[in-house]
């Protein structure tokens, strides 16, 4: 049916068949991962039985949007590999479960700057603000650009709801209905479930920004508030002290 010559002389068909041929390699490697039970670790708090990894709060999620907007991923990875040197420098290797609500994930493949998968809690908010505004004032040898506008730009919240609904469509368990909310209470506990409620997103965002005061300026909610809130939660959801290391090895 497909004669060699007829394919080679028909560029449209050649493109389609080339795509089919090269996607087989990818599909064979990727598709089975969706069916293999151990791909994403089941990480539940041993005491409460609640899911340890939760979706980002509205403020953190907006911070994450800014992280992608500014292209932080071009220089910073968020993936600690299971090697001794990375363990010693960055901390526990990343779990698949820790990025299961990331769309798109920020694993990255290039480290011009350090890995950020466990940067949360490592530095104070004041340091983060100072460092993002003028990196060389705290790390003289740094080549990171300055991001002074984060502190002076108010966070755009107009499309907060749409953003969360979009994430919900690709599988992040933000809740719209009472049934979904109740399911989240069971899965994450009440205090977390509240932060995942799309109907209360704006209030939640304001409350977290006010309580955290990440950028040191309580008067407004800036992009800096959002970005620092996001950075401070990175890699902190799973408390590895509560698990035997063996538990995570069993998933591989």
């Amino acid at each position: 049916m497909f004669k060699h010559e007829s394919i080679e002389t028909n560029s449209g068909m050649l493109i389609v068949l080339t795509l089919v041929a090269i996607s087989i390699g990818g599909l064979v490697e990727i598709v089975p991962l969706h069916y293999i039970n151990e791909t994403v670790e089941d990480v539940k708090d041993p005491v409460t039985g609640l899911d340890a990894v939760r979706p980002y709060t509205p403020l953190e999620q907006r911070g994450r949007d800014i992280y992608t907007r500014e292209g932080c991923y071009l220089c910073h990875s968020q993936m600690i590999r299971p090697f001794r040197d990375e363990d010693l420098r960055y901390g526990h290797y990343s779990l698949a479960a820790e990025s299961k609500y990331d769309h798109p994930f920020q694993w990255g493949s290039k480290r011009t700057g350090p890995d950020l998968a466990r940067v949360g809690g490592k530095y104070s908010n004041e340091w983060q603000v100072q460092h993002l505004t003028a990196p060389r004032s705290v790390v003289p040898e740094s080549i990171m650009p300055n991001y002074p506008w984060l502190q002076t730009t108010n966070l755009d919240m107009s499309d907060l709801r749409d953003r969360m609904v979009a994430l919900k469509r690709v599988g992040v368990p933000y809740s719209l209905t009472t049934v979904e909310y109740e399911a989240n209470v069971k899965k994450f506990g009440e205090s977390v479930a509240k932060t995942l409620d799309i109907n209360r997103a704006e209030d939640n965002l304001m409350a977290q920004a006010r309580a955290g005061n990440y950028d040191g300026n309580p008067a407004n909610v800036s992009e800096m508030d959002a970005l620092v809130a996001y950075l401070q939660v990175l890699g902190t959801m799973v408390d590895f002290k509560k698990f035997d290391e063996d538990y995570f090895i069993q998933f591989r």
Binding site: P82, R84, K122, D244
Partner: protein, 316 residues
């Protein structure tokens, strides 16, 4: 291939494809070495599939064999499993040559006193090399790689002035639990003249020349009285308290108001005024179990390293 197409000029076999009317391609056999390498790689995949995790089968996958890894769980139980990176890391952390050497030294330092570490050249040099990495990763971002800090933001660790105490126990507590340095803003408490008086007095405490000596006298009353209440943290003499993290105002070390950069007495006064007016809020993160989860031994290495860095036992 019943009728191989031949090139009329050379008589060699071609693929039979024709482009642009006359352009054709010889169908020469592949070089032998290339062909056998190719077959070799196919054979290699079979070995590879057998030994390492490979083909998916339903909800699981081929785990590999002849290649098991033995490691110890945190509970101390010995386990053997198919080859995977996580088990390999656990095995490496427990049995690798460097890892064992490091553990041996960490155990030695963990069991020794600070005096013993300082006196033992072997442990001292371990602290220096292991500590520089730990300091670089955890501390240098704020306190800078030489420990000199940033005036106005992050305290200097190499001078002899310690806000929260410079003995080993206090340093351990600071690293383990973090610190919250706080001084209230006096913007609402003091009017302009009171602010001027207190700032002038604070300058005299460390031997600086006040801009207005008469104001300084008034400032002392506010400082030591209930209007300002400054003495509650800084003490009546202005020496500060380690328990509060309040600065010693009588020495020449300035951690927040940037006096070294101020050239005129007026500029110095303004720098002090700004601190009193705005207050101070500084936070050092938690590095112990509730935060970065550094082990007690690692904290000990850091403290010992800091002692070497800041002049050791002379630190008060």
């Amino acid at each position: 291939m019943a009728n191989p197409v031949k090139d009329p000029l050379t008589g060699a076999e071609t693929t039979g494809h024709v482009w642009d009317e006359t352009l054709q391609e010889f169908n020469n056999p592949l070089p032998r070495w290339w062909l056998w390498t190719f077959y070799g790689t196919i054979l290699f995949t079979i070995t590879y599939w057998t030994m390492y995790p490979s083909w998916p089968i339903g909800k699981t996958y081929l785990k590999g064999m002849f290649n098991d890894i033995t490691y110890k769980t945190d509970a101390g139980e010995e386990k053997t499993t198919h080859w995977n990176m996580r088990a390999l890391l656990a095995h490496d952390m427990q049995n690798g040559t460097e890892a064992l050497k490091q553990q041996e030294y960490l155990a030695k330092v963990g069991a020794a006193s600070y005096d013993q570490i300082a006196q033992d050249p072997d442990m001292s040099s371990f602290v220096r090399s292991y500590g520089v990495g730990m300091f670089g990763d955890n501390c240098a971002a704020c306190h800078q790689s030489g420990g000199q800090g940033v005036v106005g933001q992050f305290p200097n660790l190499v001078d002899d002035d310690w806000l929260w105490g410079g003995d080993t126990a206090a340093m351990e507590t600071t690293i383990r639990g973090g610190r919250l340095g706080f001084m209230p803003a006096y913007s609402k408490t003091f009017d302009d003249s009171q602010l001027n008086q207190v700032a002038n007095y604070v300058l005299t405490l460390s031997g600086e020349t006040p801009v207005d000596a008469a104001a300084a006298v008034e400032g002392q009353k506010i400082f030591q009285g209930e209007t300002g209440g400054c003495y509650m943290c800084h003490t009546k003499e202005g020496k500060g308290m380690h328990a509060q993290g309040s600065a010693n105002l009588t020495d020449k070390v300035w951690t927040i108001a940037n006096l070294p950069a101020a050239e005129t007495p007026e500029a110095k006064l303004d720098a002090v005024k700004a601190v009193i007016h705005n207050g101070v809020k500084r936070q050092m993160p938690v590095f112990g179990k509730e935060g970065r989860n550094l082990s007690d031994t690692e904290i000990k290495v850091l403290v010992a390293y800091l002692q070497q860095m800041s002049g050791g036992a002379t630190a008060q």
